[in-house]
Symmetry: C2
Subunit: 397 residues, 2 copies
């Protein structure tokens, strides 16, 4: 059995960044920018008024000064003339500041009378002008790779990038296996249960920027498995759920071998999720065989599947975020396998506190649903007291 870190490293070695594609900016949220974007222009592209008021020359700007209003500059409609001494131009927020003017007096500080304004007794110190390029210069570059946030999209728009190059979405084929499974909404026989983890994995994959292809449940026989593997081909990553332990009925790996699967590893020193298989098919397609217990499959999804997805997306931070937290209650010593305990993370005034749930059976979805983190217990970690600092993998909603 290899360690979790070694297994993660071998999983990442099975994948590489996919090719980029071009999408309109409206479809780019959550996508991974694949190539740097250079601004074609500065922002603002001209010295712009930050307020509604009057553009004047700073030298004219003293209490009680009377100035002649010679024009008007609105957003999108600059004033082409020159502001000479003794003159002012009515100006609105976002308008280009006309030549000659180097200050905007806000309208609250001005009394207007026909074509003349009189400046008030107390004037602000600010110029109320945003200089050309204050936000970014025309050679500004947004670097890649990065997963595009809402603010990134606003910045790219301001840079006049109507389309961007993003990494193609990795397509992940998901195969649940087992004669005991029926799909939700069907009527199970008395010895059957409902396939559940593929729904969680699909949602995790899609939230992380991939595309999930849910395939029919593969039955515990060669013909059914071969049919479903055939349907999975062409995906960037093929994931099976279940059938990865040592039972006589576990044909999943045997049938995969018919498709040229080269196993990278089988079994890792962790709970939940010991029977994990990773490898590559003859055509290079990556393969991950997750354990069948729902909690095991989902935890292994966070630890192995999502890092592979992030690598295919071209991101550079592959592994899950790990936080430090203080144990709210003691935990017993751990055995030889790393244990990812379902836990609840809470913030109080000064601390982040974590409490492991009592029931850690890997079949308990009701416990997983209450968990917002996994308390990470290294192999052979001794008993820990309340107040000890520990590591936690947060489970984002």
């Amino acid at each position: 059995m290899i360690s979790v870190a070694e297994a993660q490293s071998r999983c990442l070695a099975l994948v590489r960044p996919l090719h980029p594609e071009t999408v309109p900016l409206t479809d780019a949220a959550g996508r991974v920018l694949a190539a740097p974007v250079k601004a074609g222009r500065a922002q603002p592209p001209f010295a712009a008024s930050a307020m509604d008021g009057y553009a004047v020359r700073a030298e004219d700007c003293h209490p009680g000064a009377v100035l002649a209003v010679v024009g008007e500059a609105a957003a999108g409609h600059g004033w082409a003339g020159q502001v000479n001494p003794g003159e002012a131009v009515r100006i609105f927020t976002g308008a280009p500041v006309p030549a000659g003017a180097d200050r905007v007096v806000i309208q609250e500080d001005v009394t207007r009378s026909g074509p003349r304004i009189t400046l008030g007794d107390t004037l602000e110190n600010s110029t109320n002008i945003r200089p050309e390029g204050a936000d970014f210069a025309s050679d500004f570059t947004l670097s890649a790779p990065r997963m595009l946030t809402p603010s990134d999209l606003a910045l790219l728009a301001a840079m006049n990038a109507g389309h961007v190059q993003v990494t193609r979405k990795p397509e992940v084929a998901i195969i649940a296996t087992g004669d005991e499974l029926v799909m939700p909404g069907e009527r199970p026989n008395p010895d059957q249960i409902i396939a559940s983890n593929l729904f969680a994995l699909k949602a995790m994959i899609e939230a992380a920027g991939g595309r999930a292809r849910l395939l029919p449940v593969a039955r515990d026989n060669e013909a059914s498995l071969m049919t479903v593997y055939d349907m999975a081909m062409g995906a960037d990553l093929i994931v099976t759920i279940g059938g990865a332990s040592v039972g006589d009925h576990d044909l999943v790996a045997q049938v995969a071998a018919r498709f040229g699967l080269q196993q990278s590893f089988y079994k890792i020193a962790m709970r939940p999720g010991k029977p994990l298989i990773a490898g590559a098919f003859a055509d290079g397609t990556a393969y991950l065989g997750l354990p069948g217990n729902p909690v095991s499959a989902i935890v292994c999804g966070h630890l192995f599947l999502l890092p592979m997805l992030r690598a295919m997306l071209g991101l550079t931070d592959h592994l899950p975020t790990v936080l430090r937290a203080r144990l709210a209650a003691p935990v017993a010593g751990n055995g030889p396998r790393a244990h990812y305990m379902r836990a609840h993370l809470a913030e109080d005034e000064t601390d982040r506190r974590v409490t492991a749930f009592d029931r850690q059976d890997s079949a308990l979805l009701t416990v997983l649903v209450r968990a917002n983190g996994l308390l990470i217990r290294p192999p052979h970690d001794g008993p820990r007291a309340a107040g000890d600092m520990v590591e936690v993998l947060p489970l984002l909603p």
Copy 2:
């Protein structure tokens, strides 16, 4: 000018939860469950083997015992007989435990010879059986409202819920206004800029569970505004960007009044974002008029728009999460308006630290893109020293 809290409360008073709709479980990720779901069955629905091994009677279970293998139970294929004293049934993970058996001896602890097994010298203590209903009983209910996580979907699947009732996605019409705006990819005149914030708002709305309808830019004249307002009608919330300050060219509110807009408030005591308008049109449709500066629009989106969206989704926690953090560097005293300063949040071994950026001009998208939080300064908050505890609104990617 009203406070941020008062403005949030008035915004929330303008909306109410939308009607539910039924969606298949595969489409339910990130949707808000609108009605509680009751499990139709227990999970597991029968006492199930947690391991591959042999189902036996506990009374027969002592080192060296020799038992007759009388049948086989696999996942999905139970064994219908009774395990009598001296008998064992070959069993696989997930299979129903046959009548009479109350313990599973793992295969590693057994030597098999033809139709007989001999138990090993050291036997585990565990029964290796998951009792019927260990995860949930048949009357278990998943409560509503809740935004469905990947784990929730797995649980709902296990409960045999093939479809669920979720709140309809709120549709938000977004109107950018101003003669100075062109769309990304177009060629702006020298006095024009690129519309940017609507892309950020669309991404924020969709990540929060809504649907954004981007409308053409409305120009600074009544005819254009009326055309675009007409196109916006039918949405659950109509959002305008810009045109909400006091300039002569700010027709947005005037034209909205023709559609029966009843203003709830206008101007709030905050930076960035003072000129914020909220109200309702004659037909009850909620209206939010965001300021035109990109950072103002996006910050007000977090503080006012997303809470309205969460209320329409039927969620009960509307306001943004606020964290406590320690100031990494001092900040000057604040004026009479609450200030939401663009800031960087970092975690170290024991602390969460926040640093406000030097440049807080509300036009700077490059600063917003670097920010992962907003440092909240209450009105008249005094100067703060490094090490002081402050409140921060995290900006999720």
